[in-house]
């Protein structure tokens, strides 16, 4: 049997590596693209003086120097200025606006998923409803998002970026994200499957005969798997934010990443991708912590001494 701490341990290490790996890969990519990086960012049509710009953007001394300088600045919370997406605006300002928006969107989208998951775990949502969810999940997110975008525009017109309209965008975005592309159906049937498999375990039936509640018995045992599912769902939602934010024009990280990629504004891409990586790393840490907490919880035992050293009994 593998020691229980290896899995959460590996997760924690991965969480540390991730925010370093992502900017490193993107930096390599900037140099892997054919052509001069500075010229890629701002074509001569738009910017003359490529050499001056390369020096200004730290692009003239090779990939390693660029990466080192960028990481150093990023660690100090300094991400430079946007080169193309919002020319001249500090990327930090863009992040300050985008990160909370995207987190809010994902959390809001998570609400129906969690409710659905709880419903299916407790049996409140009957399995026959799954077909309906799957059918709704068939509709691609783009289609839902598009209808939402047209609705907001027609309803608010020029005022469609005032706080009221933006809240509506977020709500619509969360609904699209939560329901389309099979997100809701996957959450419901995933958790249902997990609990059904656990309920089939003998100890659950026996717990009933001992007068205990099956759910209380199952919960700690399925918690690590649930945490895994939750992480997968959140990652799925995070991926989905790109399409939903672009179409619904929500000022989030996904939109920033898309705009940065299209315009090859690597400063923005680096920052947005690293922000995504950080969120992902936090999720890894949460999962690891849940696993550690469950392992600790599972090992709770009254201290009973018979004079001998209290070491775990090894299978005889």
């Amino acid at each position: 049997m593998t020691a229980w701490w290896i899995r959460p341990g590996v997760r924690l290490i991965a969480a540390i590596i991730l925010p370093l790996v992502v900017p490193a890969i993107i930096t390599l990519l900037i140099w892997a693209l054919p052509g001069d990086p500075a010229e890629i960012i701002c074509p001569p049509e738009t910017c003359g003086g490529t050499a001056e710009l390369a020096a200004r953007w730290n692009l003239d001394a090779g990939a390693w120097n660029f990466f080192r300088a960028w990481m150093g600045d990023a660690a100090a919370g300094e991400f430079g200025r946007s080169w193309r997406v919002e020319q001249g605006l500090p990327v930090r300002d863009l992040l300050d606006e985008s990160i909370p928006t995207t987190l809010m969107l994902v959390l809001a989208a998570l609400v129906p998923l969690v409710l659905g998951a709880v419903g299916s775990a407790t049996g409140l949502i009957p399995p026959r409803a799954d077909g309906g969810f799957h059918t709704v999940g068939l509709v691609p997110a783009v289609v839902f998002a598009l209808l939402g975008a047209a609705y907001v525009e027609l309803e608010y017109g020029a005022q469609s970026f005032l706080p009221g309209a933006n809240r509506l965008r977020l709500v619509l975005g969360a609904l699209v994200l939560g329901l389309a592309d099979g997100a809701f159906a996957a959450a419901v049937s995933g958790v249902r499957g997990l609990f059904a498999a656990e309920r089939d375990q003998r100890y659950v039936g026996i717990a009933l005969l001992r007068g205990e509640r099956p759910l209380a018995n199952m919960l700690p045992n399925v918690a690590p798997a649930l945490a895994g599912q939750l992480r997968a769902r959140v990652l799925h939602l995070l991926s989905g934010t790109v399409v939903v934010e672009v179409v619904l024009r929500i000022n989030g990280l996904g939109d920033l990443l898309w705009a940065g990629t299209l315009l090859q504004d690597f400063g923005v891409v680096l920052a947005a991708a690293t922000a995504f990586a950080l969120v992902s790393a936090v999720l890894l840490v949460i999962q690891a912590l849940v696993e550690i907490a469950v392992a600790m919880w599972v090992r709770r035992a009254p201290t009973v001494r018979d004079g001998a050293a209290a070491s775990p009994v090894v299978a005889a």
Binding site: E45, E52, L53, Q87, G157, S160
Partner: protein, 534 residues
């Protein structure tokens, strides 16, 4: 769903349902709101030296004053800043005296120092702007004699010196004397100008706030620019008074707009024309006869019908065929050169045979191998002429050429096509808009560094044409200039480095509540002071 009562709303309105009803309801709340309008894309920057798209040029016109400009009404050369301008130093300098009382949006006075700062900024090699680079061949320096008087020195004598001084004025104080102006400066988002409006750019739009000045008195207190890509949503929101204007309405949506009593379609002269660039350095296309044959194969009339939606024989068509690199209304356009509307396959086949091409199994072969044309198109053209790329491909295929099609993104267009590095293509469909000056030398002159032929797509080179362009450059009178370009028009229509397609009108749509809205060619907002809203 309720049944519509007969005679009230057309049954069709029923299906639009909630969407539109809510739109109209909320529009009622908009009274007193700023004048709002849509563009297909937001300006990338408000810094005049880094303008690259039409959206940039338009937005900047609201915030900045150009030293000189053409009147939108009578095309006269004018200035809102200069009280008196005169040639000096035997024509190698131009002395301007600024009007009194001019202010920047920050409240400080506009002085001759700002004029000279702008010139120095453009001359500074640290200013990485292609616009500035263009001025480096024209301007030599500037001296501020008094706070009101500046003398701008040219590199040589020009016959139209004011036309060389149509740059936007920049505030020296904002840059604290640093003349190297970079693209990623805060100025790009929150500029300070002396124009009619104070501009502020955000991630989803630009707001403009009127700024009363000695030389500007806009009556509209506030404007707001937003971006919507889908023309359908643009038009519907305009109809429901969600916004008051759309800068460009693609042809398919124009009937919808003109049918409405609340809306007016207004012409916006961009002086732009569409072309198919031909790679004269590649394969069979080296042969002039092959290019001429392709010109005959194209059925412009069908293309126009299936993409722009103009029916044959339609009056007041927004799409006007051209036979050379100018729009028909231009004095440079040579009316002697006829346009080709319909295809002439027989003539084309004859030309191809003469050029040594053979048809095997219906496909044209050049030197034993089948001719496959790799066609690219500026991706953004799809909005105005949906499906053009496929349709051109279809016509060529029907005439016996194999083809591949791909769209070219705006960035790739700027990086590869304009710089003459897109040699993998045989044909490139694009659009050319004249800037402030109606010149085509950059498109056709033999490329040499950055001085000539800077936008020559396939590095076309023809000594005869080069000669005509030099002639144009050296002309001292308008007539001489027209004459040189008329000859160039004819030469190009024969040699065909481009297959010239059409000039497609750009139309704006505004609600009738917006009055006095004179739209200036190219820069759009030059006459905005006279616009009224209510």
């Amino acid at each position: 769903m309720n049944r519509p009562t007969p005679g009230s709303t057309p049954p069709s309105a029923d299906r639009r349902g909630v969407l539109l009803a809510l739109g109209i309801a909320s529009a009622a709340l908009l009274a007193g709101a700023p004048l709002s309008f849509y563009e297909e894309q937001l300006p990338g920057t408000l810094s005049p030296l880094y303008a690259s798209s039409m959206a940039d040029h338009r937005a900047q016109e609201l915030v900045f004053d150009r030293l000189f400009f053409h009147s939108a009404i009578d095309n006269r050369m004018m200035s809102r800043l200069v009280e008196k301008g005169e040639l000096a130093d035997g024509g190698k300098s131009y002395r301007v005296t600024l009007k009194p009382g001019l202010k920047w949006h920050s409240g400080t006075a506009v002085t001759s120092k700002d004029v000279c700062f702008t010139v120095s900024a453009m001359l500074d090699p640290g200013t990485t702007s292609p616009i500035a680079e263009g001025y480096r061949g024209v301007l030599a320096g500037c001296d501020a004699t008094t706070p009101q008087v500046a003398t701008i020195r040219f590199t040589k004598v020009f016959h139209n010196p004011q036309e060389r001084l149509m740059f936007s004025l920049l505030p020296a104080e904002k840059f604290a004397g640093k003349t190297a102006i970079v693209p990623d400066d805060d100025f790009s988002q929150h500029p300070i100008g002396s124009g009619p409006f104070k501009g502020n750019k955000g991630r989803r739009g630009v707001t403009f706030e009127a700024y009363a000045n000695a030389h500007h008195a806009p009556t509209i207190p506030q404007m707001s620019l937003q971006e919507v890509q889908d023309p359908l949503v643009q038009v519907k929101t305009l109809q429901s008074n969600g916004v008051q204007g759309i800068i460009a309405v693609p042809p398919p949506y124009r009937p919808d707009v003109s049918a409405s009593d609340d809306l007016q379609l207004k012409s916006y002269d961009l002086r732009s024309w569409w072309f198919i660039g031909v790679n004269t350095k590649k394969g069979a296309l080296v042969e002039r006869k092959v290019r001429q044959a392709l010109d005959l194969v194209l059925d412009r009339s069908d293309l126009r019908q299936f993409t722009v939606g103009v029916k044959p024989g339609e009056q007041n068509s927004p799409c006007e065929f051209i036979s050379g690199p100018f729009v028909q209304s231009s004095p440079f356009y040579n009316r002697q050169v006829p346009v080709k509307e319909k295809s002439d396959r027989a003539a084309a086949t004859k030309l191809l045979n003469e050029a040594g091409l053979t048809q095997i199994g219906g496909r044209w072969h050049y030197k034993g191998t089948p001719v496959t044309l790799n066609i690219g198109m500026m991706a953004s053209l799809d909005v105005e002429a949906p499906d053009l790329l496929t349709q051109v491909g279809n016509q060529l295929s029907a005439a016996g050429f194999d083809r591949q099609e791909s769209k070219v993104s705006a960035d790739d267009w700027a990086r590869k096509v304009v710089t003459g590095k897109a040699s993998e293509f045989d044909l490139l469909i694009g659009k050319w808009s004249f800037g402030l000056v109606e010149e085509v030398n950059d498109l056709f002159q033999t490329r040499s560094g950055t001085t000539t032929g800077a936008r020559n797509v396939f590095n076309y080179s023809n000594s005869g044409a080069d000669q005509l362009m030099v002639e144009y450059n050296q002309s001292r009178t308008d007539t001489a200039a027209y004459d040189a370009y008329h000859k160039l028009h004819r030469a190009l229509a024969e040699d065909l480095p481009y297959l010239f397609l059409w000039k497609l009108d750009t139309k704006s749509a505004w609600r009738t509540e917006v009055r006095g809205n004179v739209i200036a060619p190219f820069n759009y907002w030059t006459e905005v002071d006279g616009w009224k809203f209510q």
